[in-house]
Symmetry: D2
Subunit: 433 residues, 4 copies
Amino acid sequence: MDRAEDYPALPGLDEDAPRDEWAAAYQRIRADTEALAAPLAIEDYVIQAADEASPAKWHLAHVSWYFETFVLREYLPGYTEFDPAYRVLFNSYYEQVGAYHPRPARGFLARPTVADVYHYRAHVDGHMLALLAERRDRPWPEILERIAIGLNHEQQHQELLLTDIKRNFAANPLRPAYRSNLPMPPSGKRAPVDWQEFPGGLVEIGHAGGSFAYDNERPRHRVWLDPFRLASRPVTNGEYLAFMESGGYASPALWLSDGWARVRQEGWSGPLYWERIEGIWWQFTLAGMRPLDPDAPVAHVSYYEADAYARWAGRRLPTEAEWEVAAADEPIVGNLREGGYLQPIAARPGDGLRQLYGDVWEHTASAYLPYPGFSPPPGALGEYNGKFMCGQMVLRGGSCVTPPGHLRATYRNFFYPHERWQFQGLRLAEDGE
Amino acid sequence: MDRAEDYPALPGLDEDAPRDEWAAAYQRIRADTEALAAPLAIEDYVIQAADEASPAKWHLAHVSWYFETFVLREYLPGYTEFDPAYRVLFNSYYEQVGAYHPRPARGFLARPTVADVYHYRAHVDGHMLALLAERRDRPWPEILERIAIGLNHEQQHQELLLTDIKRNFAANPLRPAYRSNLPMPPSGKRAPVDWQEFPGGLVEIGHAGGSFAYDNERPRHRVWLDPFRLASRPVTNGEYLAFMESGGYASPALWLSDGWARVRQEGWSGPLYWERIEGIWWQFTLAGMRPLDPDAPVAHVSYYEADAYARWAGRRLPTEAEWEVAAADEPIVGNLREGGYLQPIAARPGDGLRQLYGDVWEHTASAYLPYPGFSPPPGALGEYNGKFMCGQMVLRGGSCVTPPGHLRATYRNFFYPHERWQFQGLRLAEDGE
Amino acid sequence: MDRAEDYPALPGLDEDAPRDEWAAAYQRIRADTEALAAPLAIEDYVIQAADEASPAKWHLAHVSWYFETFVLREYLPGYTEFDPAYRVLFNSYYEQVGAYHPRPARGFLARPTVADVYHYRAHVDGHMLALLAERRDRPWPEILERIAIGLNHEQQHQELLLTDIKRNFAANPLRPAYRSNLPMPPSGKRAPVDWQEFPGGLVEIGHAGGSFAYDNERPRHRVWLDPFRLASRPVTNGEYLAFMESGGYASPALWLSDGWARVRQEGWSGPLYWERIEGIWWQFTLAGMRPLDPDAPVAHVSYYEADAYARWAGRRLPTEAEWEVAAADEPIVGNLREGGYLQPIAARPGDGLRQLYGDVWEHTASAYLPYPGFSPPPGALGEYNGKFMCGQMVLRGGSCVTPPGHLRATYRNFFYPHERWQFQGLRLAEDGE
Amino acid sequence: MDRAEDYPALPGLDEDAPRDEWAAAYQRIRADTEALAAPLAIEDYVIQAADEASPAKWHLAHVSWYFETFVLREYLPGYTEFDPAYRVLFNSYYEQVGAYHPRPARGFLARPTVADVYHYRAHVDGHMLALLAERRDRPWPEILERIAIGLNHEQQHQELLLTDIKRNFAANPLRPAYRSNLPMPPSGKRAPVDWQEFPGGLVEIGHAGGSFAYDNERPRHRVWLDPFRLASRPVTNGEYLAFMESGGYASPALWLSDGWARVRQEGWSGPLYWERIEGIWWQFTLAGMRPLDPDAPVAHVSYYEADAYARWAGRRLPTEAEWEVAAADEPIVGNLREGGYLQPIAARPGDGLRQLYGDVWEHTASAYLPYPGFSPPPGALGEYNGKFMCGQMVLRGGSCVTPPGHLRATYRNFFYPHERWQFQGLRLAEDGE
């Protein structure tokens, strides 16, 4: 099981931060990305089976484009771009950087080849290390801040790389495995749910202090919370199956209006990746098809499904403030990527809140909105998070494919309420007294 | 100018409430609906020019369906439906009531005729008055609560009747007028904006007590607010035009990502109903085409546009809690429907917050979500508000077509962020100290 | 049964044609249109339940627009349009006349009202009669040719008026009747099919001579035909039901590729307007719901369905040349509109080809293409037929709603292969020896 | 320049046909396919940038699936499929064979890998050669007929391989070349058009005799033709540019109704693959971007565009019968694939009809319909051509990417009227005297 503490944190951001440590961190995270891609065949890098699931090749190039665009072109005098056409090809959505290749058309690009993309990465890496080795005066805090964002950005794309590989492979009737030798989860005793009580009150949430956090986690601010209770662990596959078997997907009274419209339009009858074959439930995993584990947390359910499940269960989803307050003092450990399962696994018996981090991103009842006093940085980097603050919902806690050292209690992930190709699950909440 | 206080409030909901006053309130509000429809030609009742804009005939029937379904069929023994087919035809979206005619197909129904619908209304009215005159024992608080919802529901549809007539008429190149003799607004002096300061703190919002309010306004609950300032009046057409002329609709950096996508997809270049004819700006109103009044509040802008304007202006939108706290002690007066303009008009000079009520529904920065502890009533009526609590934004304050006596400081309206066929406008806010 | 001969033909087109007879013909056909609309309620005139089915009001106005645009504005000096906005509103598709209101938005027009449209008709009629009474020199052959087209055009819209009323009413769950008192068809003996033999050879088809015909029927030209046989009557409902019951709609091998795609996309399982209610087959007619008559010709089947049926039956559809050669010497009699059924009826026993005219438009295996040497008239009237000569199929023979005096053996109707809201049926053919 | 005669024809189909020659033909054509794919990078095999353009990998597998499905599984006892999943994956559209992977999702398949597909080909080849070497009694005429179809089918896919590579590469802003070293066409003198006269009369078209032809070319049958003239060469880029510059794409009167709708919907302003860069016209070719040659035949124009051009030029398109009669005695030579240009080139001076074969598929005015007496073979192979006989138009003559030895005067190609990703061009016709 991954202990986030064991993965080296990023160095400080101030003027005197040790740049050799930054270089080491840079190399470590960049190498992680390539290690994740190692099991892929050339063909696997190219495909895009859904608008939201970019090709692996695109992820590898785009994260390099970040460093080229926001660091090298601005702070390394005389830097020459690897290929000027990449400005457009690998810009994701930064309007202020210029044009960008349409997202649904990323799978149409055979070229640059995979080899080209690795050359691009090497080109960027060489110059990044040269910049970090610079002896001359530079606006280092500013540069290091951008590198810190870039490395966290790369970690986010490491997670997307895995979720997108899963999505893209799932479109293939052959149901190929990303890595067929992933370990089977340990079998254990079913963990019953108990309810953890929290008093609420006038609390603070959000990130404070000088360590790295995204702009959307700031500023730290006060929130009033009534007393509440959280389930000790996420909802399991077995529990979710009971909801399905009781007619959950055929009962409009359980659903939000938009959710019910989506159920009918898409023909949903269970989570993404579930398949019933000759009476047995299977799920598609990064190791290919595996039998459903009833004790593992349910994953790949949309906000609509999480909300309907909670209504059926007579409970509700927690708000992001409730979640954060509960998580604030918990260690950041759990079934994260380095645990090696790449799939949610059953909770082990124990006390208190379990599986807060890892396994599944937990849906919250909170819309993704700016915190009071939020202000994005000026320029194109201000588009990183701020312009998505409408129509999406917040998820918390990371998943079984989240990189080590990437999470914080204040970390806000966000998706549209119909999306479910990420490892999204849920933990129930209820009002306290 | 309308004074909401002058319009009789609904009687109490308790066991001993005076039922003749309920009968009078019922007749008054039902008559209001028919008075609004009086200027229509038969043909005008039938059309539906957009999925969101129901035919006038449908509104008149649906509000009667409410009383038939939720009151008469349940509480008047031996009641015979006017026509069993209306159960489906005039059900809007209540899944627990049964099937419903698809919303985009409401304009395909030539029959029942307009005369049939008025007969339907008379049939329902006769039985409603008979029920209210009943001497026998009944669960009166329950019945009166449902009638209160039904009358408020009818008032909401009175407002929709006008906004939908506007939307449906606007699709006609002849630009017909609903009433060509609506008064021109008084000309006056331009009101400068000043900023009203509010201290925030631990405040309470939401409806409390026994008087009527929708379920979504409940329960009253605590919220922490930092100090804030509100503009003394909404943004005007003239101010919005400056945003347009400075390239607002061509500057992606001002827009939310989904908003910018909508701008391009729909080709937006200004508010709905604005037309530039030979260099002059006009707008389509319920009186037909009229020249744009630069001092009147801008209307028919989506949340995306309101948000982009605020960003351009270096301000932000208020949250619904900020709006409600500021409005809590203000009188519910303003340019509402009974003012007779049916169009926003310029603020008159004065002190303090003006135009809080009436003129335009004011966009807030708050997503439409359940209040802490919210719970909808059981059964089909629970679908009234609760199932829409995802993906929409809250608006406050009513508009120039809101019926008298309908508003409260706690009143929450809600629309999708791209919608703009209602009289939606905005008031700016900023952080205080 | 209607005898086309009994309905007065149009007078001649030459210089000396009797203009009072033209005036009488004009009045007769214009009056026919209004008689057809007489059973409609005001509401019925307005609706459009499908892109292809125009509102009744639109038909009444558009046919008047024809006379205004192509006759009065060009040949009556000083003519003043009834309303200049109608140029756009009631132009169907003539690009050379200018802009036109989008077809799918015809149902959004409450105004002009029905009364306005009748005033428009009266205005046009007055001026048309004044023109025909002119004593001065005019290019009469040219004018009369345009009037002849206009009157035939009006007759086509009389047919569309009925088919579109049927389509628009069918979208209403109340299944209203256009005229509930239409006569029931005479019951009779089932007519067996026999096969009529034709030798083929080098034949001529197409219209020749000076009498009126559309441009698309010209020029008369030679075609080689191999020997063929035609069924003595169209396929009946009972026969078509056998195709359905044998799994016709579930057997892709019977279908054209595009047809099969349409079956799945639209969920077709039988002809348009058929409904199975408690085990009994009904069909929606202009008299409302009526039980299916197994001996009446099947109607409202697309080309795809006609083609699949023929393949299932081991036969084929005739070409338009085969049909025309067979029909050339047959009298133009049959169950046409004046028969008053407004629904196909069973063939009466008899010899030879029956039901060639009337009952149902018969699908042919011929694509709608220009005849060799075809050339449309110059100017906007050239758009009448020519620009549709791609992607559609030819149908022959008229239907139970075709006006009297309107048909010829050379008459070519045409629809897209997926369309079926007209009275489309089929007659089988096979190769001869 | 390619001489079709130089490429060995397929051996006979009778009982005693030399099977070693069949084996040689099989190996030659299968090797041609692989040679065409040789310039591709692995990544290039995978992508699909438009629904109509299959991935290269798919083509290579599908043509093998043909032999496996229609030959080996039926005639080689004990044959074991390479992979049963390929039955579905590489079935194109044969409903009677079973399910098939959806066409627009072919680009989602990273697996089987390119290497897997080559192994599949080798597996099939080994068994095909074993079958052809069989000494035992078999229904050889039937088998050889199926092999003949399979080899012609493979040649069709060779052509599609190139047109689809072009289409898929064109979606890449890098505009990559399939082969950057393709020869430049010889420069020459501009060839003026002259008009070849044909008397028409009662002629015969279609394939007769025992040599190989597709079912849709049969049976040979009589057609009456009026006298006509054909242009001596296809319309050139320079001539087409004059149409564009005279406002052809802005003149609805020149267009079929469906064509004009397509022009507006897709924003067409010139042929596919044309780009104007700093005032100069370029076109995308299989060698990447090249300047437009005004004397080469225009390519990549839809039927709608060809028809509009002809109308603008005061001419018309030929019918397929006219084309075939004119071509019947001409040698099958021209700028075909083996010429090596893979792009249309200017006509060389000369007499008579030139460029009938090769350069561009020539649009005809004929809908793709069955010939009189047409009957497809029973079973799944009957779906090869017959089920597409609706809604498409016939093209004749082959193009610059058509394989050697593949064409006949009777050969019918067919596309939807809006399609233009093939090398489609046009030759004008006019009525004779």
